[in-house]
């Protein structure tokens, strides 16, 4: 069953027609990587999946429910199914690590302080960060911030986790670590993951399925093995350039 289903999605910003009829299905419990060059509309597509942007045309269904036209309350209910790791990590810079990870738990309410603390430390353990509760985002490296952001995204044990360029700007060791985190989150709790990236190596390491976005539409879709064999001209060029640079 498709956890996220995008159909005929169009979105323009002024004269710039970014998405030109995107169709994509993300199966439950899988990791889908959306590949594409910079400016191809990957982040815009992801923001539609969680209702941060409204399409000009087309629909997005999450867990069987169409999210366009939902009230603020309905959209909040759908968003509780998601965790999201932003490209910039998007940690709240006025809060320390503990409060950042605790934030979604506190906002959801109903949990005693002790349980919130236990959950926060459990999630920080998962991403390999201990003893940094009191640190503020500006006191951490990019890789650490991404891991804290991942812990925050996993805090509510969401059904779906969206990763916006999770390894951009990271060194190879941090990249591998984040990749392992994504795979482990999917394997341990069966979370559905959507990752957007232009890092093909990372994508092939973690993806069950890949989709290639080019000029506002999905031009190729399949398993990493299928993508390697693709005859689609853009995909061939994209992969050839990556192989050349390795």
């Amino acid at each position: 069953m498709a956890m996220i289903e995008v159909s005929g999605l169009h979105r323009s910003f002024g004269e710039n027609h970014v998405l030109r009829g995107v169709d994509l299905a993300v199966e439950e419990g899988t990791t889908t990587v959306i590949l594409g060059s910079s400016g191809s509309g990957k982040s815009v597509l992801m923001k539609h999946m969680i209702g941060l942007l409204t399409p000009d045309r087309g629909t997005v269904r999450v867990d069987g429910e169409e999210i366009q036209g939902l009230s603020e309350h309905g959209l909040a209910r759908v968003r509780r199914k998601f965790g999201m790791v932003f490209q910039s990590a998007a940690l709240f810079d006025s809060l320390n690590v503990f409060d950042n990870v605790a934030f979604p738990l506190v906002e959801r309410g109903g949990l005693p302080r002790r349980e919130i603390a236990d959950r926060v430390h459990e999630k920080l353990d998962v991403v390999g960060l201990r003893g940094i509760d009191d640190r503020y985002p500006e006191e951490m490296s990019g890789g650490m911030r991404k891991r804290v952001a991942l812990a925050r995204a996993l805090a509510l044990d969401p059904k779906i986790v969206l990763y916006d360029e999770p390894t951009t700007g990271l060194d190879p060791i941090a990249t591998e670590y984040v990749d392992e985190m994504i795979v482990s989150a999917q394997e341990r709790v069966g979370v559905t993951s959507v990752v957007i990236s232009h890092d093909i190596g990372s994508a092939f390491a973690i993806a069950d399925r890949c989709a290639v976005l080019h000029e506002g539409a999905v031009v190729a879709e399949g398993t990493p093995a299928e993508l390697r064999e693709s005859r689609q001209p853009f995909v061939r060029r994209f992969l050839a350039l990556w192989y050349q640079r390795r």
Partner: protein, 284 residues
């Protein structure tokens, strides 16, 4: 014919420039109308989200502290010196026709009706409005506002509503402080510096300044608070383009809020004048 009209290239160039000018004025006007509409919408949403649970009391108190307590020093200093310099100037003017006893009443009336709300508004714009625009702008460009939304937390309720309410509440308080400190400064200059009788200074204030004068000033202050917070939050909320975009948003917020405080002061004074005039005439 061509000699009269100039070379065809020059005509085409002039026409192009004229067209560019019209397009530029038109797009600026459209942008302004769009911004005013956006700010009105933000105001309505801020009110709606203020009334909807969960009520974020801690965030409200943080903002009350930042806007109110944090501005005491700058508003106090501005009020003190405004009262002092106004006393010096009115003393010189009134001494020409032997009416120095009116210094206190003149300063107090001007402070209560105009100077305190306007100057406090400008100080709050500089200190609070700039910070709000920068904070929200920075949160926007680093995706922290999007992150709030993805966690099913309304950024309007979490970020905008407490700032708007706190500024509306604290502006009248700061204006009262400005009134008090300004009158104290004027008293010091007039009584200890210029030799005006203390009894005359104070009794004329009691005679000429009515509670309605102060109330009118406080109404203005609350309106200024609303305008400053809405403009600053709107500009920050819609910042785009990294550090440069945040700087631009802050700059636009401060300039726009300062101008709006001064312009709206005129219209508020006109609106309040029947209230002030009626009262004054009713008593005397």
């Amino acid at each position: 014919m061509n000699d009269d009209l100039g070379p065809p290239g020059a005509i085409a160039s002039a026409a192009h420039e004229a067209r560019e000018a019209v397009v530029s004025v038109g797009s600026s006007t459209l942008r302004l109308v769009e911004e005013i509409g956006g700010m009105a919408e933000l105001f309505v949403q801020a009110i709606v989200w203020t009334l909807r649970p969960p009520w974020r009391i801690r965030l409200l108190f943080e903002q009350l502290d930042f806007v109110g307590v944090g501005s005491i020093f700058v508003v106090g200093i501005t009020g003190l010196f405004t009262g002092m310099v106004f006393a010096v100037q009115t003393y010189h003017a009134f001494s020409m026709f032997d009416a120095t006893g009116l210094v206190g009443a003149t300063v107090a009336l001007a402070l209560a009706r105009e100077l305190a709300p306007v100057f406090a508004g400008l100080m709050v714009t500089a200190r609070v409005g700039s910070t709000m625009a920068t904070e929200l702008g920075s949160m926007r460009v680093t995706e922290q506002i999007d992150a709030l939304a993805t966690m099913a937390v309304s950024p309007l309720q979490y970020l905008v509503a407490p700032r708007v309410v706190a500024t509306i509440v604290m502006m009248p308080v700061l204006t009262l402080l400005f009134d008090g400190v300004g009158i104290a400064g004027a008293y010091t200059v007039a009584v200890f510096g210029q030799g005006v009788s203390a009894a005359s200074f104070l009794s004329r204030i009691r005679t000429w300044v009515d509670p309605q004068d102060i109330e009118g000033g406080l109404i203005k202050a609350a309106v200024f608070g609303l305008l400053i917070a809405i403009i600053a939050c709107y500009k920050g909320f819609h910042a785009r383009g990294g550090a440069k975009g945040v700087g631009r948003a802050t700059n636009e917020a401060v300039v726009m809020a300062s101008v709006v405080v001064l312009v709206s002061d005129y219209f508020l004074s006109v609106l309040l004048s029947p209230f002030w005039t009626l009262h004054t005439h009713g008593l005397r």
